[in-house]
Symmetry: C2
């Protein structure tokens, strides 16, 4: 089992970062504009992407939420490599930053698609940082393109 790890620091209150990870309009502001569903524990959030050669979306079941501390999703639909993996956001304050420790855990094999997803997650987390610091993120379809896989 292998994991994707990232760490960013955002100059915004932890409550605002938590909101951007748990509210549908927050998520739509940094990952993909086409985000729908139910952001509470037990709910499923549907993230859709259009026009990329990659899978067109992911359905995430919200497994755990600890206000201002933790958000945990499990992938219940999407590409085969993602199903059953988990996406974990841990939040904490440090200096004048809200730190996000990100982990996409439980990949079976380090396939080339995992290399791609690791870099894409980094650019989307930078989009989260931008959203909170400037009011404007770069969610799909206007996301940063990193390769022929977009």
């Amino acid at each position: 089992m292998v994991d994707i790890l990232h760490r960013i620091g955002v100059t915004a209150p932890v409550s605002e970062v938590y909101a951007a990870l748990t509210q549908i309009d927050g998520l739509a502001g940094w990952w993909t504009e086409d985000t729908e569903g139910e952001g509470d524990v037990g709910g499923v959030i549907r993230f859709r992407f259009h026009g990329a050669p990659m899978p067109d979306g992911f359905d995430m079941k919200v497994v755990d939420m600890q206000p201002n501390e933790l958000v945990l999703w499990e992938v219940v639909d999407g590409p085969a490599e993602w199903i059953g993996t988990r996406i974990r956001f841990e939040l904490k304050r440090e200096d004048d930053f809200t730190i996000v420790l990100f982990r996409h855990e439980g990949w079976k094999e380090p396939v080339e698609f995992m290399y791609h997803c690791s870099t894409k997650w980094a650019t989307f987390l930078m989009s989260l940082k931008q959203l909170l610091e400037t009011g404007r993120g770069e969610p799909a379809p206007n996301d940063v393109k990193i390769s022929n896989w977009h």
Copy 2:
């Protein structure tokens, strides 16, 4: 043992990407301006950073080079977590892109510093892409800042 993985695609010939990974002025154009040393197999390249709360540099021994296909370094000096780890760049052509498969392999534990380094590597690889596509990267000290750890 855990690894950092990334994948980018660059719209430049593979020979130019290989040069940016093996020549001192190429490396200085996307990772850190303060790069010195010997880029051939057996040589050591010294990368230095200034003003960050993180370690001030890394010394990489060039372990293997396959023209337009592979560059492999071993970390011989730097922060304890990095020493003995390896940095691998594999190159290939796909569609109209030169694909870079990046792997920083052999971390003993997924410490918080590894989360940070994973995200920083993503932004530096995007700097490599920019350098080759626009003529101008974002090497340190003008690198993209991702957190309180810079």
